[in-house]
Each structure stands twice: as C-alpha cells, then as structure tokens.
C-alpha cells in the first residue's frame, strides 16, 4: 500500500490507525480536512488527530468505514454496535459527519 493512499488517524490516547484514504473519506469531516486546498496540515502529512475520540471508538469507526465501502459495493451485511459503545460512537459520528 503506497503511503499517499493511506491516512493515519490518531486517537486521544495516541493510538494510531493507518487506513486507506478511500475508507477515511467516508467521513465528510475527514474528507474536508484531506481535500481542502492550501489549508489543513492534515492534508500535507496524511495524519489526523482526534483528541476527543478514544481508541476503542476510533477503531469502531474505522471498521464502519470499511463496512460502508463494502455495503455500497453491494455486500449488505449488518454492522454490529456494542450497546455500551453506542452513545460515544454516536457523538463521534456526529462530529465526523458519518
């Protein structure tokens, strides 16, 4: 996987998730960060830090990104959400426009 095709998402604790840019772009917020011209440092380094999102939630979000790509390609499976994560995940989804 070429470096320019990936993006690094960093959780509040500093946990790093390297995922496909295409997957990350499922989030409108991340898409804006990575594509707005001449703006965000995120676009330059391919790194986004989320001081408000914990690793366990960020991992779930990454799972969702890939699930979403598959879904839109016709693989309509169910996305499981653990009840204890729902509220926190929802806040993050709200922030990420996902």
């Amino acid at each position: 996987m070429k470096k320019e095709d990936t993006v690094k998402l960093i959780s509040a604790e500093g946990m790093e998730f390297v995922i496909d840019k295409e997957a990350a772009m499922v989030s409108q917020t991340i898409r804006n960060m990575l594509t707005s011209p001449g703006g965000f440092a995120e676009a330059e380094h391919g790194e986004v830090t989320f001081p408000e999102i914990s690793a366990v939630i960020l991992e779930k979000i990454c799972q969702y990104f890939y699930w979403s790509l598959q879904y839109s390609r016709g693989k309509e499976t169910e996305f499981h959400i653990e009840p204890e994560l729902t509220l926190e995940l929802m806040m993050a989804a709200n922030y990420l426009h996902t």
């Binding site: 879904y71 839109s72 016709g74 959400i81 009840p83 929802m90 806040m91 989804a93």
Partner: protein, 619 residues
C-alpha cells in the same frame, strides 16, 4: 365506467396546487395526478445497483431505539442528537409515555406528534420541559385537554402550533396561548370548540403569519379579534359554513394577506366587496361559494391576484364581462359552472393566463376561438365539455401547452392531427370512447409526452405500435377492453414507464403477467415501474391514491422499481400465472377478483416470495 366517476372528485383539490403554479396536477388523469402529487415531495431517487449505505449516525440511532430500555435520560446528548432519536422513535411508532420521560429537559426544538396514538395530557409535562428551546409542536388528533395545552405557556419561543381536530380543547384552553407572541403559524383545523369568544386569545399573537381554521364551526363573529394581526399572510377558513359576509368586514384591513381560502362557505358577492383593499392578495379560493359573476367587480380591484378559483359557484354568463379586468390572473378555475361560449369572449384579454380550467362548462368549439391569443397557456382543462374536433384548430397555436385534457369531449380521431404541433405537451388525456387507433396514429409527433390517458378509448393491439414513439412516457392508461397479450408486448418496451393501467381488458392472460414481469427483470435496475391494473376504479379511488403515495415511499426507501399495486381483476389470469409475480418484491396490494385465482394460492405466494404484500383479494 366506475373510473369515470371517481376521477371527477379530485377536481376540488385545485387550491392545494395553486401555490406551486401550473403543473400536471391540473390534468384530469387521476393516476397521473397522484403520481405527480406524490412525487412532488422531496425524495431522493438513487442510482440503480448502488445500495444506499446507512450512516453511522443512523445506525447508532437505530441501535439506541432498539435498546431504549437501557437509557434513563438523553439530557447528556447535544440537543440535535436527542432530536434525531426522538424523531426516529416517533417515525417507527416506538415512542410511549414511558420512553417520552427519557426526553425530559432535552431542549428539543420540534415535537411532531400529529395523529400519533395515545398522546394525552400526561405527555405534556415532558413536552413543556423543553422550555424555550421548543419551536414547533404538532399534537393533531390527540386527547390533550385545556390543562395540557396550558403547560405550553412556558415555551415562549414557540413559532408553530398545530392542534387540528383536538376535540378536548376549548376556548378556555385557547387563553393559554395568548402569551405565545412568537407564534407565526397556528392551526386549529376542525376544532368545534373554537368559538368567536375563544378567538380573543389570538388578538395578541402579533407575529402570526399563517392561521388555519378550516372546518371550524363556531368562529362566526370571532374575526374581530384578528383585526390587528397585521402580519397575517395566509388565512384558511375553507368549509367554515358559519362564516358570513360580515365576518369578511373584520378581515378587510389585513393588508398583508396574500392567500385567502374560503371555499365551501356561505360568502356572497356582498361579502367580497369588503376585500377590495387587499392589494397584496395573490390567491383567492371561492370554490363552491354562493357568489355570482357580480363578485368580479370586487375581485378586479385585487391588483396582485394571480390565482382565482371560482369552480362550482353556479356562475352564468351574466356579468362575466368583468373577467376582462383581471389581467394579472395566471391561474383561473371556472370548472363546473353554467358558463357558455359567451363567457369565453371575456377571457380573450387575460394574456397572462397559464392555466385555465373549464371542466364541465357549457362551452363548445366556437368559444375556443377566444383562447387563441392566450399564448402562455400551459394547462387547459376541457373535460366534459361540448368541444369537438373542429374546435381543436383554435388550440394548434398554443405551443406552450403542456397539459391538455379532452376526456369526455366530442373530439374524434379526425381532429387529433390539429394537436400534432403541440410538441411541448407532456400530459394528454383522451379518455373518450370514440378515440381509436387512428387517432393515436396522428399523435406520434408528441414525443415529449410523459402521461397519456386513453382510459376509455378503443385502442387495439395494432394501436399499441404507435406507443413506441413516446419514449418518455411514465404513465399510460389503456382500459378500453381491446387489448390482448399481443398488445402488452409493445407496451413492455417503454423505457420510462412508472405507472401502467390496463384494467378492463378481459382478454389479458397469464402471458401478460409474464411479459410485465419480464419487463421488471429487464428494467429492474434502470427504471421505475408501477403497474396498476384496476377494474374497480370507483371503490379503489382512495386506495390507489394511498398506494401511489406508498410507492413513492418505497422508491425512496428501497431504491427503485417497485410494483406496489397490481390489480388484474376481471381477466383470464389463473393460479398458474401467479408465479410470474415473484420478482415483484415490493408488491403491497394484489387484486385478482373475478379471475380464476384462489386466496390460498395468493397466500402461498405471499409467504414464499412477496414479503411486503399486505392486502390482497380474493382473501
């Protein structure tokens, strides 16, 4: 011809369409109109083959609704999120008084519980706890009483309040809303308890722009209380039989009124004279009122008037010369009046007209000569008139015409070639028994047609060959009885078809189902198709209406293409034909009355292949 009668009824809804301007809604074709009506709501039509992925937000909200018992309160959530959870619970009919408690103090902005089951005073405590965040509330059809309404007093930011047909609200309750001065919209449709005295509560609502008191029976004399509402732009007092001319005196000073609906009330010409000063009035609906052409004197003083509905007023030619003075008119409805060609002379100068409805008037060919100069006309309704073939020559110059209804006229095949130049036509209704294949052959230049109604026309299999010229056709009705399976073969190749009505063609067999079903497979991913075979049109009128609405819902939700209603009653369909319906996964209603089909077989089909089938006959 049950269908014939059923179609007449939808003429009364014209005022709803007025604000949208001219559209296909004026067409006589019931089915086409429903289609347009239902499709006019915001709706995303998705690309075929691409599944719409639910957002993570939606998934989380679904999950919360599923586990709702595990949450005690949503106050810790941002208010826009709790609003989404609330809306979802309402939409999925999961909200109960117990779950409602979890939304206490959530700063919700909208509480839309209109027609929601079980809503009563015990719900109002939580609703009012939203405090000044609350902007709009709809509790239509609820059991809320004056006490419950009183709890909203504290929600001083409220802008819109809807309490349609709430039988337990009385004038005492109305007093509670008098302090809600931020209200811009207020609706108390069909509220018998609203009295003239109760309307006193409205007098302080100085920001009110929209007031809806449709079907209120006790408001006579109460308009004096809304005299001072100078921002009022829209007033609906349709079907308020109690209203008299003197009530109009009280609203004569509401100079900002743009829309006034008074259909089916006892207003007379005298009452209308009070309205002469409403110089901003754009829309006036007087359908079914006791007015005569004498009211045109007052109406011509309304300089901004663009939409005028005088349908079913019993107008005669006497006094119709005053029409010539209302030059601002864009939409004029004169349907079901006793006017003749002599009246049409006075419409000659209304060159801004875009829509003219002369349904069931006593007009004929000579009268149409007066319409030749109305070059902006987009919609012309001539159904049930004495117009015949020779009159059509007067229409050939109306090149902007998009909708033309000639059903139940005397027009014959030979006249139809006069229409061949009207290439802007999108909707054409030729539901008349004397129209045949030959007439259809003269229309092949009308390639922009989207809706074609040949309901009672005697179209045979041969005639269906001409249909291939109409590649844009979305709805088609051919119910004259002359079609066989061979004709359906031609119909199945229309790429844009969304609604097809082939009822009353008794010779159609299982082969037709196979062809139609094949069409679904063929077009499944590229088009939207509904087939409505309907024989019992009279009784099914409202049902069909609802089904087409449901269809829109299905399209919005499931993606595309979904046969929602299928009625092949009174044909040669047998049990053996049923398996062809299997690809029609979205089918919700199936009617095969008077066919050789049994309820047991349909039930089998339902359980094995048609999960959405909710209604079927025989049952």
């Amino acid at each position: 011809m049950g269908g014939v009668c059923s179609r007449k009824r939808d003429q009364q809804v014209v005022e709803d369409g007025m604000r949208r301007g001219v559209s296909g809604r004026y067409g006589k074709s019931g089915s086409s109109k429903w289609l347009l009506t239902s499709f006019s709501r915001p709706m995303v039509v998705h690309q075929p083959g691409l599944a719409i992925c639910p957002s993570l937000m939606e998934l989380c909200i679904d999950k919360i609704c599923e586990d709702i018992n595990q949450y005690s309160s949503f106050t810790m959530l941002p208010k826009d999120i709790s609003q989404q959870i609330f809306n979802k619970l309402v939409l999925s009919h999961l909200l109960t008084d117990v779950f409602l408690q979890k939304f206490r103090d959530c700063a919700l902005e909208d509480v839309w519980l209109g027609e929601y089951p079980g809503v009563q005073d015990s719900w109002m405590d939580v609703i009012s706890s939203q405090g000044t965040s609350l902007l709009s509330v709809d509790l239509s059809g609820s059991d809320v009483t004056d006490i419950g309404l009183g709890l909203l007093k504290e929600c001083s930011s409220l802008q819109a309040l809807t309490f349609n047909h709430c039988e337990n609200i009385s004038e005492i309750g109305l007093k509670h809303i008098s302090g809600l001065t931020n209200l811009t919209s207020l609706s108390f449709k069909k509220s018998a308890a609203i009295t003239a005295e109760g309307m006193c509560a409205f007098s302080s609502l100085i920001n009110l722009e929209k007031l809806d008191l449709e079907r209120c029976t006790g408001i006579h004399g109460g308009f004096v209380h809304i005299k001072g509402l100078s921002k009022l732009e829209s007033l609906n007092i349709r079907c308020c039989k109690c209203i008299t001319d003197l009530d109009l005196k009280a609203i004569s000073g509401l100079n900002n009124l743009k829309e006034l609906q008074m259909s089916n009330s006892n207003i007379t010409d005298f009452g209308l004279s009070y309205l002469r000063g409403l110089h901003k009035l754009v829309m006036l609906n007087l359908e079914g009122c006791n007015v005569t052409a004498g009211c045109l004197d007052s109406i011509s003083a309304l300089v901004a008037l663009a939409f005028l509905n005088l349908g079913r007023c019993g107008l005669t030619d006497d006094g119709c010369d005053k029409f010539s003075g209302i030059e601002s008119l864009k939409v004029l409805n004169l349907a079901f009046n006793n006017i003749t060609d002599a009246c049409l002379v006075h419409l000659k100068g209304l060159t801004n007209l875009e829509s003219l409805n002369l349904d069931s008037c006593k007009i004929g060919d000579e009268g149409l000569a007066n319409l030749t100069g109305l070059s902006l006309l987009k919609s012309l309704e001539l159904s049930d008139t004495e117009v015949g073939s020779s009159g059509l020559r007067h229409l050939s110059g109306l090149t902007h015409l998009e909708t033309l209804n000639l059903s139940f006229t005397l027009v014959t095949d030979s006249g139809l070639k006069k229409l061949s130049g009207l290439t802007a036509l999108k909707s054409l209704n030729l539901d008349a028994r004397q129209i045949t294949d030959a007439g259809l052959s003269a229309l092949t230049s009308l390639t922009g047609l989207v809706h074609l109604d040949l309901f009672g026309a005697r179209i045979s299999d041969t005639g269906t060959n001409y249909l291939r010229c109409f590649k844009n056709l979305q709805s088609l009705e051919i119910c004259g009885g002359g079609l066989t399976d061979a004709g359906v073969k031609n119909i199945k190749d229309l790429p844009s078809l969304t609604l097809l009505n082939l009822s009353q063609n008794c010779n159609l067999t299982n082969k037709s189902l196979e062809l139609i079903s094949g069409m679904f497979c063929l077009i499944f991913s590229s088009s939207r198709l509904v087939v409505v075979f309907s024989v019992f049109q009279l009784s099914c009128f409202y049902e069909r209406c609802a089904l087409v609405m449901d269809f829109a819902f299905c399209v919005a939700n499931a993606g595309l293409n979904a046969l929602v209603s299928l009625n092949v009653s009174n044909s040669n369909i047998t049990n053996d034909g049923l398996p062809y319906l299997k690809p029609l996964k979205n089918l919700r209603s199936l009617s095969l009355e008077s066919c050789k089909v049994t309820a047991a077989e349909i039930k089998k089909l339902q359980s094995s292949a048609l999960p959405n089938l909710v209604s079927f006959r025989p049952e």
